[in-house]
Amino acid sequence: MTAEATIPASAAGASSEPLLRTDTLRVHFPITEGILFERRVGAVRAVDGVSLEVRRGETLGLVGESGCGKSTFARAVIRLVDATEGSIHFDGTDVTRLTGDPLRRMRRRMQMIFQDPYASLNPRMTIGSMLAEPLRVHGLAKGEQAMKRARELIEIVGLPRNALNRYPHEFSGGQRQRAGIARALAVQPEFIAADEAVSALDVSIQAQIVNLLSQLQSEFNLTYLFIAHDLSVVRHISDRIAVMYLGEVVELSPSRELYERPLHPYTVALVSAVPIPDPKVESKRKRMILRGDVPSPANPPSGCRFHTRCWLRRELGDPERCTVETPELRQLAPEHGVACHFAEELAGNERRDQLVTAAAAHSNVRDTDADEPAKPTGASAAPASDPDSFFPGDVSHH
């Protein structure tokens, strides 16, 4: 496994049709009231108009905070939830409304590694039979051959040899996640959506799995949609990264550029919030601390959805455009798109540093909202939350 091998043959695939393509994909979950006669009173706009391409052999990373729609997006492209609007093309075929046998055949080609392996593994099946089952169902191997492959798979993912005859509950959370990965790999799919696949693992084990995923990718020319909240891991494994916020892609960039030249104010904040395991670097970093929580996707802010927490908007004197006009994802550099009206402000390194420094200084003093009384000095460095923002499920306190 060399460093070069982790950069897949995406250059060759770039000119051809992408393996997966979504066009203004929307997934809305209805909010209903009443018991017998459910009335629709609104919708959680989990994914709200996402157009992305995943090229053959590449890893597209998808990052964002809880509730930004990244998992729902993955579930929609794998056809585990139905798209409300828009389309999904896999290998040139429109799979948005596929059903029955064609859907089943397609499913062998696209697999998913889930976030919670305890919920996705059958508690009454041994790991061995769980790994052999998809091989039999899809006619890939049976009997002794399937068990041989199962043994191979558990070795690959680092489970003990006797795991074949054991049940999911006998394993630790980390080991269960390995079993989930082994199962996804069993049918040798072309496309794998990995949803927080390594998040539950300890760092030393996580590195093993990340390397394993890279190794398998170059071996079988796999295409990954890699979802995680850990930006360091995503950047490590991905060729390109899409940053999501409240159901929308706000930035799409080659992974190297995302850290070096983030163009969206949300990405800037996200990147600066990721701790770096080096005290020398940490002590010098400017911390851009966002105020408040992510607003509810059932009732997203108007205009740019990030405007309620946006530090750049504050630095620019709260321009009205942010609250009324929704920014489109536009290309500012080769392969680098951003959905922000004022992204040009962040394009130059010097100007960006200036703005970030100013905003970081402000985030230390302006800890409360203007309409609130000043707090005792003790709290001056503590960032306060926007009282208007609340999580889905949170009850407003007004």
Partner: protein, 347 residues
Amino acid sequence: MSRTAPDPEALLSVRDLEVTFGSGDRVVHAVNGISYDLAPGETLGIVGESGCGKSVSSLAIMRLLPKPAARVRSGSVILEGQDLLDLSDEEMRRIRGDQMAMIFQDPMTSLNPVLPIERQLTEVLETHRKLKRSGAVDRAVELLELVGIPAAKNRLRDYPHQFSGGMRQRVMIAIALACDPQLLIADEPTTALDVTIQAQILELMRTAVTERGTALILITHDLGVVAGMAQRINVMYAGHIVERATTDELYGRPRHPYTVGLLRSIPRLDEGRGELVPIQGQPPDLSRQIIGCPFADRCFNVLDRCREEMPPLEQAPSAADEHLVACWNPAEGERLVPSGFESELAS
């Protein structure tokens, strides 16, 4: 180190602490004789992977281990000259929440879901500070403001489920700080939170402990989080402290092969796409007796001696003062550059 007397200057001195779970045939040796000191106002990071004993040792300090499943076999935990392990439950209750407090990973399970947060804040104040009801409520509002909960007065009657994850963790911190403890133990306080919220909470904790001179033990698996928070770090593996040094020294010149392995296995956001070097194998089964160093089977520097005798935690050769390592054959301590990084720069 284990035989040295507790440092009279220290706020907390842990000596030879040993904790096991279970009995009879299956005894899990969770903590195997750890010793360390914590100075007043110091922030100590305890890092290690699942099952290394970092949480269990801290629960032992708080005397919160489940009984009778867990047993403290030996050792002492001396807080301001007093051995906590000798105290009765009643005496311990008077100290917990007053002189020492703890914050857990998941505030949803550590806050009481059927009580408004006001009651949970005032309870600790009424118990330890003997405040009257109205005084306690005023103080509760102050505390909520201190941890950055907007419109604090209006939120007193709210229940934990009415707060977001980050806000719940702020409430937990407010409760923990209520009586101005000298020692705060935070067990993975930001692991369940999103990264931008994590940054808020870390900033809050940093400010709170600095202003009040509270000593903090920060337990985490995240080497990034401690890098920006702790002055000193204990690295734990299989119930042992295998390395202990100041933060700069530990990251700059790691000596234990396990620490080196950990630092090589994490991707860094600020560096290129070099290859990760995972630690081979898995942590040992702590229900089996381990002879010698528990890391020997995964170690790149292993000697025959490692499989026979557990190395003591001692001053590392040619290292800065108080850089302790438990290894017969420590790494050289070169500054780590992820392998493959140079080749990427060249490409």
